[in-house]
């Protein structure tokens, strides 16, 4: 897989997960160096969680391998049980043991791995302190807020010194306020963690703020992998483009700056020859009642399919030869009198169109 960073000597993750899950054939390769956080994104039901559970050893691989550091966790034939792996797992619902106090929840891992009660509790206290919950050691899970429960779950997952930390939508069960705070707590704690983290999420904000490498999984396959910067500027699937908020087109480029897509023609000042992706930022689209004139630019007559508000701007979904999402000010929505079902002219400067090989 390109750009994933080879597993560093003496640590890191090198895995290829292949398994069948219902109608989906999952085939996902992941590599990471110690200390790295891989964000796995994708639509729900695309195989993200299955990949994670296979890394944990809860699901069996049909084929492939899981290597962590120098150890073989799974080679497609012999498989270590979850309790034999140095792994930490945290799921969307914190899934704390409801009958145990926070301290004993966190001490559960060390105790299960043979540490004596006293030392396990010491360790648990340290871990709770690192997520800022030392004062809540004696609380039962139901006495904690959802954000605190998530932090206890993180402390519990890290108390066994896992070489691989698996987070499945760790923030999705939280309300927006708590989520923002817990996200920064999580980021702080992960900086101090020297193992590999795999973070499954469908929230791009989680991925962009927490991960230093992104892997997109759709229908069980990796559709794109790279650093957040690469993915943000050069999406390679419709889903990725939606996540990073760009209009994306697949087409055939020539040296004159023409990109021929399935139904339309896009003009760019940065030509790439051959099969190309072309992107248009929604903010670069201007809308007009009448056909605009002037400099080399793209103009299309499109029909308004949707208008949604986002703060002081509006996103206008347009359908036609070149389907497009435009981001315009609320002011222009009213002055142009934009309404769903109406036809408008959309214009994009050729300098705003980026192309890169497909």
């Amino acid at each position: 897989m390109s750009g994933a960073g080879a597993a560093a000597p003496g640590g890191g993750l090198d895995a290829r997960v292949r398994l069948s899950r219902g109608a989906i054939e999952v085939d996902v390769a992941l590599t990471a160096a110690p200390g790295q956080v891989i964000g796995v994104l994708g639509p729900n039901g695309g195989g993200k969680t299955s990949t994670l559970l296979a890394l944990a050893g809860v699901l069996a691989l049909a084929d492939g391998h899981v290597h962590v550091g120098a150890r073989v966790w799974d080679d497609g034939r012999r498989r270590l049980q979850p309790e034999q792996r140095a792994v930490g797992l945290m799921l969307a619902d914190s899934l704390l043991f409801p009958h145990l106090r926070a301290l004993d929840n966190v001490a559960f891992g060390p105790r299960s791995r043979g540490v004596d009660r006293h030392r396990a509790r010491d360790r648990a206290r340290t871990e709770l302190d690192r997520v800022g919950l030392a004062a809540h050691a004696a609380a039962r899970p139901r006495e904690l807020s959802s954000g605190q429960q998530a932090r206890v779950a993180l402390a519990r997952a890290l108390a066994t010194d896992p070489a691989l930390l698996l987070l499945d939508e760790p923030l999705s069960a939280l309300d927006p306020d708590t989520r923002a705070r817990t996200r920064s707590d999580l980021a702080t704690r992960l900086t101090a963690y020297d193992g590999v983290t795999v973070l499954v999420t469908h929230d791009p904000l989680d991925a962009l703020t927490l991960a230093d490498h992104l892997v997109f999984v759709e229908d069980g396959q990796v559709t794109q992998a790279g650093t957040p910067a690469e993915v943000l500027t050069e999406p390679r699937s419709t889903y990725v483009a939606t996540v990073v908020g760009l209009n994306l087109y697949a087409g055939q480029g020539d040296s004159h700056g023409h990109v021929v897509t399935a139904d339309g023609l896009i003009v760019t000042t940065s030509p790439t020859e051959g099969p190309v992706w072309a992107t248009i930022p929604p903010s670069a689209v201007s809308l007009h009642r009448h056909e605009p004139e002037g400099s080399p630019r793209n103009t299309w007559r499109l029909r308004i399919a949707s208008v949604t508000m986002q703060g002081q701007s509006a996103r206008v979904g347009l359908l036609g030869d070149v389907p497009l999402t435009a981001e315009v000010t609320l002011e222009s929505v009213t002055s142009l009198g934009l309404q769903v079902g109406q036809d408008v002219w959309a214009a994009v400067k050729a300098t705003e169109v980026r192309t890169y090989p497909r």
Binding site: V58, E83, D93, F97, H99, R156, A157
Partner: protein, 261 residues
Amino acid sequence: MRYAARWPSRLALGVPAALALLLLVVPLVALLLRADWARIPTDLATPTVLPALRLSLTTTSVTAVLCLLLGTPLAWFLARSELRATSWVRALITVPLVLPPVVGGVALLMTWGRNGLIGQHLTPFGIQIPFTTVAVVLAETFVAMPYYVLAVEGAMRGLDPRLESVARTLGASDLRYLRTVGIPLVLPGIASGLALAWARALGEFGATITFAGNFPGRTQTLPLLVYVELEHDPQVAISISIMLLAVSVLVLGVLRGRWLR
């Protein structure tokens, strides 16, 4: 017209409903009316009753412990298994629930008897199971275990399977997960399963008399003694029955809120 149409239907439903209620309640009332309350303590302290009481308490307690030790792991396997065969196993262990207890007794004889499936291998060692206290326990366990297993399995199915996944990634083996998380979380289910199984074992008659016989002090449990005393001294039979009724009501109290609303 409304009333004309209403009363016949009221009667058509009300009469059978009242009859059903009477059929269930009158026998209990009759038993209570015939009881000589002052005599009950002395009746229960007679040399015939005390050994039966002691035997019933010990055998039902051993049965309860067997249910706990053997039935809990079985319930766990049934609860977590996704195999198709599991539903067959579940159906199989349900059979003793509906089987006539006498048939259960015959089946136990065919298993543990002198020439039985297992018994024939014990005979050379001088071990004889039928008509011993051990046979009483086996008979009671045979009829009571299904109640326990089904109750506990139901409770375990209610647990989030992801709790087990998390526990295992934390390093817990199956046994440790069950001991520290699974069982503590299904304690109410275990309690009601034990109460059900114990009550069923306490009332066991048919399988016991067939397989274990009716030997005072050895295999004669309270229900068997009631049967004998009814010929001999009916008042003692009534006193024992009152006590068993009281115990049943007590068990209902334990189960209340869980099985009854």
